[in-house]
Amino acid sequence: MDRYIYSCVPNTMMFQIKHEEDNSKKYVLIAAFLGVITLIEVALFYSTSFNLPVILIPLSFIKFLVVVGFFMNLQFEKKLLKLFFLLGFVLSIPFILILFLERSVI
């Protein structure tokens, strides 16, 4: 999964957080990236010509991954922790989907 992320985002290695070093600038840059995405989301919301869920969900997902990967440093953590988190996530998605599909429509 790490390699997949690296191939998709070529500059990821640049953002590797090294302990014992002041990484503040990197964090601010990442936060700016997140802010830009938020702005895009809100702008999209106000323009009605797009199919919103199709775009908003991937954008939110990217934000989610960025915070988890970089701020929570999961990208560079031991596999074990990634596994724990992934398990919770993997179990959650089907449930959200199933409950959504079984939803009340009366």
């Binding site: 601010v28 990442i30 938020t38 988890v68 996530f89 959650s92 449930f95 939803r103 009340s104």
Partner: protein
Amino acid sequence: MSSVDTIQEHEATGVSNQKMAMWLFLSSEVVFFAVLISTYLFYKGKFSQGNLSPEELFDIPFTSVSSFILLMSSLTMVLSHNFYEIKNYEKSRIWIFATAFLGILFISGQIYEYTEFIQSGLTISSSIFGTAFYFVTGFHGLHVVIGVILLLTTGSQIGPNKNNRKYGLSIESLALYWHCVDIVWIVIFTVVYLIP
């Protein structure tokens, strides 16, 4: 709860006990919030049935600003941890209090939003939308409040002349918790507010 409260510094996996415990707890929380959001989605089709629909009530610009505030609080949190790692306790403390401050701002925004909605007539009992909305956002807000209390407590334990978290949660664990609260809001904001 101190990471040193164990009698063996055993870390057979190489991951500290507290960090592992926090990740396990957070994976449970991820399922918790996923289920919360599912219950909201379960009833989503019926929200326009009541006299007050989401489209009428939501003030997207306002909520976007408070969402952005929470997002930036993740930045302040990670900065606090960053300075802690390089042993700059003074700055670490400032940033942790900044995080708490942004968290309080977010909660204030929520409270303002809630009062506006209640005045317009949306309560827990007024409609299924009311119940579901307050349920999801209320639990999230509760987690933020607990987070703020943790931030303030831990923040008061760091500093140049203090014990620097001999007790209680490590900055790393606290940061993980706070980021989780933030990413959950990312999802809630999208699902509840942005998606029609």
